[in-house]
């Protein structure tokens, strides 16, 4: 199956902005939780982390990533790999997210 022209990394990342970390109340992309993202032949491969291991919201966030990804046109599957190295820190946030939380570089 060929990948639709619009289905690329940027398109998927844009869609994942709609998935939030409920505790921090901010989207997972700008929080810096997405470590890697590839799109190949309609399959989205996400490598991501959580703000802390054992987070009770982990499965809900993973489910959110899957549901948002699989809803995109042309997507056949979404695979998610959760990693803990390197550990997440607030420094991984985008400047916009840092500004939201009042974090200085």
């Amino acid at each position: 199956m060929s990948t639709p022209a619009a289905l690329n990394r940027e398109f998927v990342l844009d869609a994942l902005h709609e998935v939030i970390d409920p505790e921090l109340g901010y989207n997972i992309v700008d929080l810096g939780l997405i470590y890697g993202l590839d799109v190949d032949s309609g399959v989205i491969k996400v490598t991501m982390t959580m703000t802390t291991p054992g987070c009770p919201a982990q499965d809900y966030i993973l489910s959110g990533v899957y549901e948002r990804g699989i809803s995109l046109p042309g997507v056949r599957d979404v695979t998610i790999d959760v990693v803990w190295e390197p550990a997440w820190s607030p420094q991984k946030m985008t400047p916009l997210a840092k500004a939201h939380f009042g974090i200085q570089d």
Partner: protein, 447 residues
């Protein structure tokens, strides 16, 4: 497809609900004048209120929190969700029997057996909880500091409940009656093991994980955290152990050991408070949420209780000052920390159970959308003001002023309870009282 594994403790919110009801019942007993200071510290009403506070309110609050918190720090599930339910049932039923037994003292001798029966049920509930929490804790060794502090706290919980049960047996089983007078000397050790070794050590351990997590501060506590744990656990063990031994053996060495334990506890509390200030100061999150702002009041009361305890000990008035210190620890430190943290935990668990499965499929609110923080601040302020006024009255020798002060505390408790209820019902998220309808807005920020 991602399967939603059960990472949410099913019985944590019911435990909080029961705990809050018990807290209100205890406050009602005090306001009705059935307890100290209107009656003696050993009056039936006082004993009933004290156990409603420490078992009904604080124990259920802490166990409910640990049923959710221990899987977070160990990344392992509880041994059984069903055991968590049995724990709640055993403790609440046991507490009801104990309160009935206390209130029947001197009036209905036939109900006297309710005390050891209730105590046994509470002990059973506690043993179930220790097993349920111990399985993930032992499975996740080597544990980080918060886990080790919780483990130490659970050991003190066992000692506390065992001591309590021995009091109940001596009180009601005639052949054991001669030991009652001796055992009563250990009531202080019972309180120290419970309020200090169990509640305070555990609360410190939990706060060492949650505060940095919520405020985006460094989690590693280094030497300071280790000192708090070693000095705290060692100090409580020494003070309680030597205190119990002194009930049977009059030895100068035991008194020195007991005083050394008190000193170690005081140092541990001071280091802990300094470390908490460090967490607040090194946080990355400039704008912190209401529960963390208000928690500063609870930390302040821990410091005040410790300072007064040191002052009373230095002037050899520790026994006379004990009711005030217990009041500050129960209402100011532990109660204050509990009420402030519930303001975050209840909306968070509500979000997980009510909205979590919609994430990625449509509009969902944020946890922050489930509360109106500005409405909580007057209640937190009133609560801590009431505790402070009550403590000031007792310290000034006007213990009668405690009841009016407790009226403020009770009013604030009711106010906060309404806010918790609104968060759970999705009152603010939906902008209307009907919480059954899905939220009608998207709250995701875009970078």
């Amino acid at each position: 497809m991602v399967t939603l594994a059960n990472r949410v403790s099913r019985w944590t919110l019911p435990a909080f609900a029961l705990a809050l009801v018990n807290f209100l019942l205890a406050e009602a007993l005090i306001l009705a004048g059935l307890t100290w200071p209107a009656r003696s510290v050993s009056a039936p009403g006082t004993l009933a209120a004290v156990h409603l506070l420490v078992i009904g309110w604080l124990l259920l609050l802490m166990l409910g929190a640990l049923f959710q918190f221990v899987p977070v720090i160990t990344a392992r599930a509880l041994a059984s969700q069903r055991l968590a339910l049995l724990t709640l049932l055993a403790i609440e039923a046991g507490l009801a029997a104990m309160v009935g037994g206390f209130l029947a003292i001197g009036r209905h001798p036939a109900l006297a057996l309710a005390l050891p029966a209730g105590g046994t049920a509470v002990l059973l509930g506690v043993l179930l909880a220790i097993f349920n929490l111990g399985v993930p804790l032992f499975g996740a060794r080597p544990l980080a500091l918060p886990g080790r502090m919780v483990l130490s706290g659970l050991a003190f919980l066992l000692v506390t409940v065992a001591l309590g049960l021995s009091f109940a047996l001596a009180f009601t089983v005639p052949p054991l009656a001669p030991y009652l007078a001796v055992l009563l000397y250990a009531v202080g050790d019972h309180a120290l093991a419970g309020l200090g070794g169990w509640f305070t050590l555990t609360a410190m351990g939990v706060s060492y994980k949650l505060l940095p997590m919520f405020m985006l501060a460094p989690e590693e506590r280094g030497v300071a955290g280790e000192c708090v744990h070693v000095l705290g656990a060692g100090g409580f063990a020494l003070a309680v152990g030597a205190g119990l031994a002194r009930v049977w053996v009059a030895a100068e060495a035991l008194r020195v050991a007991q005083d050394s334990g008190y000193m170690a506890i005081a140092i541990a509390v001071m280091i802990y408070l300094w470390d908490i200030v460090r967490i607040y100061r090194t946080r990355k999150r400039a704008l912190i949420e209401a529960h963390n702002r208000a928690a500063a009041g609870a930390f302040g009361f821990l410091g005040l209780a410790a300072a007064l305890a040191i002052g009373f000990a230095a002037t050899h008035r520790l026994g006379a000052g004990a009711p005030l210190i217990i009041f500050l620890v129960v209402f100011g430190w532990l109660g204050g920390l509990g009420l402030t943290q519930l303001y975050k935990i209840i909306p968070f668990l509500t979000w997980l159970t009510r909205y979590g499965s919609n994430l990625g499929r449509g509009a969902v609110p944020r946890v922050q959308d489930l509360v109106r923080e500005r409405r909580s601040y007057p209640w937190f302020a009133l609560y801590f003001l009431g505790v402070l006024l009550g403590a000031a009255c007792v310290l000034a020798g006007h213990a009668g002023g405690l009841r009016p002060s407790l009226a403020l505390v009770t009013l604030a408790t009711v106010g906060l309870l309404i806010e918790y209820w609104r968060a759970w019902r999705g009152h603010y998220a939906h902008g209307r009282r009907d919480a059954s309808a899905p939220p009608s807005f998207v709250s995701n920020q875009r970078g």
